[in-house]
């Protein structure tokens, strides 16, 4: 792996951490995953850094969280968070970023209407597919109930998809060679 990849991986892990400084919206105490700006970091890692770099950036991020650095929104960290309702989502982050990166890598010049669904697929569908069953298991909820709860997160996630798409397209115009 070249130096640039190492720097980009570090950068997107740091970006996701920095987005944790935005206050999350939490429900039911911390028994449910918070609505957090950090999943925007996941989308950008995939859409700007690409499948490999983006996926590894998120892997680095969750590894740093696991060793106890307080990088999750609100200053949380440690192995404990993986055992909580958020655990599945966190584990999905590297996968989501990689999927987004892969899709966009196939159509780098995609317009808004093509790129946004790609980011939504990786950043919402894939993420929820891993996160919801985990949450249901941890919180002892029936799957249908867990799905219903997650509907509350969709509007926020759609906003993030739109932001990620606009930012990615802007960055690609500023860096045609990216």
């Amino acid at each position: 792996m070249d130096t640039k990849s190492i720097v980009y991986i570090a950068l997107f892990a740091a970006l996701t951490a920095a987005l944790g400084l935005m206050p999350p919206i939490s429900f039911a105490g911390l028994a449910l995953p918070p609505i957090t700006a950090q999943s925007l970091g996941v989308m950008l890692a995939g859409s700007i850094a690409g499948a490999r770099r983006g996926g590894l950036a998120m892997l680095l991020f969750i590894a740093l969280v696991a060793v106890g650095l307080p990088l999750l929104a609100g200053g949380r960290g440690g192995f404990g968070v993986f055992a909580g309702a958020s655990g599945g989502f966190l584990l999905a982050w590297p996968i989501s970023a990689a999927v987004i990166g892969y899709l966009i890598g196939r159509a780098p010049a995609a317009g808004f209407t093509l790129m946004a669904p790609m980011i939504a697929f990786g950043g919402i569908i894939v993420m929820y597919a891993v996160g919801i069953p985990w949450m249901a298991a941890v919180a002892g909820l029936p799957l249908t109930k867990a799905v219903t709860i997650m509907l509350a997160y969709v509007p926020g996630d759609l906003v993030k998809v739109i932001l990620a798409t606009i930012i990615t397209r802007g960055v690609r115009r500023a860096y045609p060679a990216l």
Partner: protein
């Protein structure tokens, strides 16, 4: 008229401006001083980007604490590092950004963009990615982006460091041709020859405040 009243500025426990009081009414005013003496911090006070820790900054009687937004329309600011100032990916868009925010009509924006690009020989860079310009080109873009907004006061923080001779001359001429009040922080003493007033900072204090023919030699002396 800019009034600075008993201003102190601290970042955490580090005090970078100590009890400064000034009234600035001349046409061209320069701020000089060693690295880290507080020039940029002082400049940022003038349009309310930074608020004083104690004391007040008044622009035409308005306090930066309460009228930040109005004051920023009046006081244009060119940053020391042009990378900080370029907001949009493409040269043309970036130039238009400030004018759009002030609600200029479309044709005006177009005309002024053409004018300023031609003035600095950058017409063929209209569609160039702004962040991939050479250092000097970026600096010209940063200055242009503020000039097109036609503010009443212009604060420039070392605007010529990366420029070649010709562009430096152009920017110097542009600065001299401004009808507005100009406040310029710079290490380039050549720029200041016909300024009306030169203020010398040292460690957050004013150690000289005089006409250039007195203040500049004093500063050179203090640096050796």
């Amino acid at each position: 008229m800019i009034e600075i009243k008993n201003v102190t500025l601290s970042y955490g426990d580090r005090t970078v401006l100590r009890d400064i009081s000034l009234a600035l009414s001349e046409h061209r005013i320069a701020i000089i001083g060693a690295n880290g003496s507080g020039k940029s911090s002082f400049a940022r006070l003038l349009n309310g980007l930074v608020l004083p820790t104690t004391g007040d900054v008044l622009i035409d009687g308005q306090n930066t604490r309460t009228h930040g937004k109005d004051i920023r329309q009046k006081v244009g600011f060119v940053f020391q590092n042009p990378d900080n100032q370029i907001v949009f990916p493409v040269v043309e868009e970036d130039l238009a950004f400030g004018m759009k925010n002030l609600g200029f009509p479309k044709e005006d924006i177009r005309r002024k963009t053409d004018e300023i690009l031609a003035r600095y020989d950058m017409s063929d860079l209209r569609e160039h990615p702004a962040h991939l310009l050479s250092g000097g080109q970026k600096q010209l873009l940063a200055i242009s982006g503020v000039l097109v907004m036609e503010p009443a006061y212009i604060v420039l923080d070392e605007p010529t460091t990366l420029l070649d001779l010709r562009n430096k001359r152009r920017v110097t001429e542009a600065i001299h041709a401004l009808d507005q009040t100009v406040i310029l922080a710079s290490h380039d003493l050549d720029l200041l020859q016909d300024f009306d007033r030169v203020i010398v900072f040292d460690d957050g204090r004013i150690i000289a405040d005089d006409r250039p023919e007195n203040a500049i030699p004093y500063y050179i002396e203090s640096m050796s």
